[in-house]
Point group: C2
Chain length 112, copies 2
DNA sequence: ACCATGTACCTTGTAAAGCAAGGTATGTGT
DNA sequence: ACACATACCTTGCTTTACAAGGTACATGGT
């Protein structure tokens, strides 16, 4: 139900996961799913976008137990992008929290 | 450019602003604009949604210097919704920050 | 009288993103 | 032969933010 909140953050999350080491889409779903909900239908189009932006590059690796895996590596530009996104993310969180602070003093003790 | 990040948070922000006191759409744009970017084209449809969900109710007030203002008040359900949204927001921020933490140890010192 | 400006409301169409549902193919175990 | 896990992918839907445009009232300047 918090689908909307994720908009715009998943790119950053995937880049962050890739900063910890190369991975492939199917595995990334598993990795991120430990912390947050994300589905394959989200991941595959997302990876295409990241590649279109040249934030990641790919290489194929045969698997001993299944079809080949399409690994993704962060590019230098991807690393820069991650850094930028994290900055924007922190700014945004601060902005929202500041607005939430508006409500802090109000309505809590409504006894006349 | 961080349009996507806002998805899902603006409802909450508006409800929070209304928790600090009744207001009308045009004024809310001004209030929130002190902290974050938001446009009228976003606000008016948003207010309709809030009302459709019964999180706010409205009343008209004539203005001395312009057309009548459509004031919005938080309903009891709106207050509950705000509380719920804030909880989800905090959870979500924690989740994202946890994922960003994955990258913390990697790639920072890439010597050898 | 006329017009610009500020206030205040609103709608339409576009773009982006997440997701459920479905589909394909490979390898392993029964 | 069949089921299952792995691993890839696409289509169509939904929600949301926003730019652009439109209406109407009140005030001040010329």
């Amino acid at each position: 139900m918090k689908t909307q909140l994720k908009k715009g953050t998943l790119d950053m999350c995937v880049l962050a996961a890739l900063a910890a080491g190369d991975s492939y889409a199917y595995e990334l779903v598993g990795i991120l799913s430990r912390t947050m909900e994300i589905s394959e239908g989200t991941m595959y189009p997302l990876m295409r976008r990241l590649q279109a932006e040249a934030w990641v590059s790919t290489y194929l690796v045969e698997s001993a137990s299944g079809p080949s895996r399409k690994y993704y590596t962060l590019t230098a530009e991807g690393r820069r992008q991650l850094s930028w996104m994290q900055q924007e993310w922190r700014e945004f969180v601060n902005e929202v929290n500041a607005v939430l602070g508006l409500a802090a003093g109000a309505g809590t003790g409504e006894a006349s």
